[in-house]
């Protein structure tokens, strides 16, 4: 165990002591580029998946799904801006696609919440581990 911790420290130290490493990090913080947006979107996605997998309240699960869709939207918009700056493709294709994602999310929320109300009327619960009619 001690050996493992020591080697982990050695790895971090080696990474930190690389010449120009801090300069790169400073540059990345002062001038955030595409990769920072992608990392933020990935973290939002993972938080959303965590909500879907761990919560019991079905309404909070729906909210986590909205988080996941938003992470995807953020990726679309970030790549749109990237292509506007570096390429000459159709510059707003990502924004058009984002509109469709938002439309589908709205439809999904309406249907899902209708299902929640029907479920609550029949089973008197909104906890997913108590809804096990289809489980043998």
């Amino acid at each position: 165990m001690n050996n493992f911790i020591a080697s982990a420290f050695a790895l971090v130290w080696q990474e930190a002591a690389t010449p120009g490493r801090w300069q790169t990090i400073r540059q990345g913080v002062l001038e955030p580029d595409l990769s920072k947006f992608l990392v933020i979107a990935a973290l939002l996605f993972v938080i959303g998946v965590a909500g879907v997998l761990t919560r019991r309240n079905i309404i909070v699960i729906f909210m986590s799904i909205e988080l996941i869709l938003n992470a995807a939207n953020l990726n679309f918009i970030a790549f749109t801006r990237y292509l506007q700056d570096t390429g000459n493709l159709n510059a707003v294709a990502g924004q058009v696609f984002t509109i469709f994602v938002i439309v589908v999310a709205a439809a999904e929320a309406a249907i899902g919440l209708g299902l929640v109300i029907a479920l609550y009327r029949n089973k008197e619960t909104i906890f997913v581990d108590k809804i096990d009619l289809l489980k043998w």
């Binding site: 955030p32 992608l38 909500g51 761990t54 309404i59 058009v96 309406a110």
Partner: protein, 222 residues
């Protein structure tokens, strides 16, 4: 593509706000608090959209999500009883084994994401290096000229973005059929949620008149 100066400051502020509010969304005990934290996440993400030059999408995000979907969520939270979870009588999360499994899975997933983004970003940088300096300057100049050509707003304090115009033109020229399909999808969603949310009495009244009359659920001839 880099943000600089105040744009960078606002990027970090809104990025951290979005992440913290997203974490609180899935950790809050009260479902209404969850909804409010989700609203702040959505607003922060809309601010990131503005930083990326997508003003129209930011407006749509606030109007549709915050104004429409989240109000729907709050209504449903009001309709169903979540008091037991709020008071702490009910567990918030699944059983520990499931939570531990999903935590391990998520740590691996996020490590994989960060690795993939670093690798893919090097590929993007290699692609950037293929673009000549001339092309880079040309697109930077194009962007600057586009910004200078913007009309000032009525108060003269800001410039009117052409983003909406571009998105609209692109939407109707390249995505007219998906646009129509989306409207049909919304119609189906409206009808479907009305069908789903009927009470048993309403269901009986429309579906099976004979049985309903026999059971006395409807008393008038219709």
């Amino acid at each position: 593509m880099t943000l600089a100066g105040w744009e960078a400051v606002f990027f970090w502020v809104f990025a951290v706000a979005a992440l913290v509010a997203a974490l609180l969304t899935i950790l809050a005990r009260n479902a209404v608090h969850s909804a409010l934290f989700l609203i702040s996440t959505l607003v922060s993400v809309a601010a990131l959209f503005v930083l990326l030059g997508a003003e129209f999408i930011a407006g749509v995000q606030i109007l549709v999500y915050v104004g429409g979907v989240m109000v729907l969520f709050l209504f449903v939270i009001m309709l169903v009883n979540v008091g037991a979870e709020e008071r702490g009588n009910e567990m918030l999360f699944n059983r520990p084994a499931q939570v531990a499994t999903s935590a391990i899975f998520l740590v691996l997933l996020s490590l994989g994401f960060i690795y993939a983004i670093r690798q893919g970003y090097e590929g993007l940088l290699a692609r950037d290096n293929l673009i000549t300096q001339d092309q880079r300057e040309e697109s930077a100049t194009r962007r600057r000229v586009r910004q200078q050509d913007l009309r000032p707003s009525a108060t003269g304090t800001s410039l009117l973005s052409t983003d909406t115009q571009l998105v609209g033109a692109s939407l109707y020229r390249f995505a007219a059929l998906p646009f129509e399909i989306a409207s049909v999808l919304l119609l189906v969603a409206i009808i479907g949620s009305v069908m789903l949310a009927r009470t048993t009495k309403q269901e009986a009244a429309t579906d099976d008149l004979e049985t309903a009359r026999d059971e006395g659920l409807v008393n008038r001839e219709s």
